[in-house]
Subunit: 454 residues, 2 copies
Amino acid sequence: MSAPYRIYLDEDQIPKKWYNVRADMSEQHDPCLNPATGQPVTLEDLKHVFCDELARQELDATTRYIDIPEPVREFYKMFRPAPMTRAYNLEKALGTPAKIYYKFEGNNTSGSHKLNSAAAQVYYAKEQGLTSLTTETGAGQWGTALSMASAFFGVDLTVYMVRASAEQKPYRRSVIETFGADIIPSPSNTTDVGRAILKEHPHTGGSLGCAISEAVEKAVKTPNCRYVLGSVLNQVLLHQSIIGLESKAALDSIDEYPDIIIGCAGGGSNLGGLISSYMQDTLKGTSDTRFIAVEPASCPSLTRGRYAYDFCDTGKITPLARMYTLGSQFMPSADHAGGLRYHGMSPILSKLYHDGYMEAVAVPQTKVFEAAVMFAKHETILPAPESAHAIRTAIDEALACKKTGEEKTILFGLSGTGYFDMQAYSSYLAGSMADYVPSNQELDLGFSHLPNVG
Amino acid sequence: MSAPYRIYLDEDQIPKKWYNVRADMSEQHDPCLNPATGQPVTLEDLKHVFCDELARQELDATTRYIDIPEPVREFYKMFRPAPMTRAYNLEKALGTPAKIYYKFEGNNTSGSHKLNSAAAQVYYAKEQGLTSLTTETGAGQWGTALSMASAFFGVDLTVYMVRASAEQKPYRRSVIETFGADIIPSPSNTTDVGRAILKEHPHTGGSLGCAISEAVEKAVKTPNCRYVLGSVLNQVLLHQSIIGLESKAALDSIDEYPDIIIGCAGGGSNLGGLISSYMQDTLKGTSDTRFIAVEPASCPSLTRGRYAYDFCDTGKITPLARMYTLGSQFMPSADHAGGLRYHGMSPILSKLYHDGYMEAVAVPQTKVFEAAVMFAKHETILPAPESAHAIRTAIDEALACKKTGEEKTILFGLSGTGYFDMQAYSSYLAGSMADYVPSNQELDLGFSHLPNVG
């Protein structure tokens, strides 16, 4: 085997600029709306919630490349460049003629790609002189990433952690606390929206949408504080473009170009980042790579959702975004891929999907874990349940190549590791894991709460 | 900063041979003895327990370099070369003129360096046509590493896991099971020695020494099966020499040579591997690098143990090794660095220490966790409690440089990550972690059980 297993770019090949895919989109997604006025959100609206530079980035549809601040690049050097790996052993086990590559973003303590945006967001907050931040976390990767960046740059952090997650994953909570952040299980009594939800549902395990509501409320009511979010937003996709930029640099170095790019999709941060540079080629018309978003069958926002204006949170205090959504009141089942249990999808990715640039598939979790265990045994990395969605589809595409004899080049995003998800693996191994697919009636109930806008 | 944060060697720089430090030692450690005969163990003796090639390696004191089999090198490529990192941010936080480097072995699913030897041991077993292996695990890194290698090469594995660990770390157990190994909490009813221990101590949480006894007994009584061990042995230090070989190649590439090399020491696998190439220079008389073994104050085999013949296990069925030991019946307190709770120390390292080539310090665990949290906040990696012993001493040496103004170059081994040790971190953060130092009376009790040999 002459081609290497793993390609590590040199440190000076860490990108110096993020790529803003919006600059190459011929049509933009519809603007987010201020729910109070029904008008497009303004920079001033956003500055109440996000720090100034991030608010600017959120609305920037024209600047193609944005400088990565030097302190953020220095931070990146502690865990980047991330490796591009050829899955030789998985290929061999599958007996496929396809070449399978994966970009591995789990080689840092947050266990995922989330640290890419966390570093940027905390840095900008620090630069603006803010003293504290709030956020929410579900599965915990984002909370961990943000606690790491906050500890490093010296900003206080409060994390609203979905109550069910906080209880199921006490060790994930300990990691976040080790980095010095405060954790509040959500819904909580620390916010109006939390108190209202608790009054109606005293025993609820919470949801990501609800934790977002609380974190936003806390941020706007605390002096010198802002809210930060780890997915869905345009700014997050911008920061995560580093995954795609590095991926393209690595594969270019061995003259490879993917025929298929596959990523798991919850809010879209990992997928949006992974595809960025290649989507640029597609938007320019110089490539016909297939992009596949993989979502859980239990929370199928792209494959079964509606393309409509909706709130980003359960408490209905965020702007309205036009996106694929199951409705902000949709409560997904207790699927183990906590990071994919979100009712909506990044407006940028929603638009690309709506315009036919991207495909989507929904997969049941037992098939996902089957792929995860196979991958672990042959490639020695224990994947996060979220990332294993991409593995499932990569395996399926590779097996399709086996049938047709096509030597396609497949790239998938291995966005993180599963060290804090062993309860899920145990459940799978014990044969007690169930697959849940929402009925059309359940989806209709979710859609019935969509706001009457746009 | 012109020098890089991290140095990744190229894949073709993965060493092609392991280095056998014994070939450069002017005096060898005393031979291990067969307890039944009192005579030095023979190759034939060892072949009952270990597979043939490993038995040969165990006794080989003359071959300086031993080829790494190609399939083992191919396996290594999935997680090696491991990065050499400059701790710029820790240096800055300490305000030290010292340069601090660390060799990070935690970037694989086993969470530690243990995979280096696991791959080799399973490969040789497979080559010999063995169908199953047994081993023990305490903290769980070795068990995980071995389950990964066994899954990959297709050999059945039974892991005797210290009962207290199996109960405290159900998720570590799940990882091992995910890779397809069987786990038996030790002591168990599956062996004579286990039944005997249970009869005397029905409620014991077990110990590493006891789990070793069970795994050895099981191996010798099972057809086509052998026992494998992750530390202490000469063969293990041989395989782990890859850490030192890569470290030297990386630091040579930027013209650095460590003044001080620091590693945590339980059975000696990580430390012995880390220092290998540099110890070669010292043994040749061309270098005066200081080598520091760091052990927990609760289990101080080098700093307070005796250099004597002793059993390697609690059940007294293994050969007798001359080593620094607290006595095979010594029961260390419930220190959180499970990987360092072993009564003895590698005979090679014991000999080097005895002959003055190495220093040793013992550190209390609250100071270890203080260092771990500081390291995590500044370097973004959550260290294993074991590895944090080395961090503690690296920080102490760097602070000594701050006082004297010396720009020393410090290298320490970051042997693993702490994702499965959050209970320990929580205990430290809550202020409920205790430091335990055995009294002289306790040590004397341990020494009273030393066999009357040699």
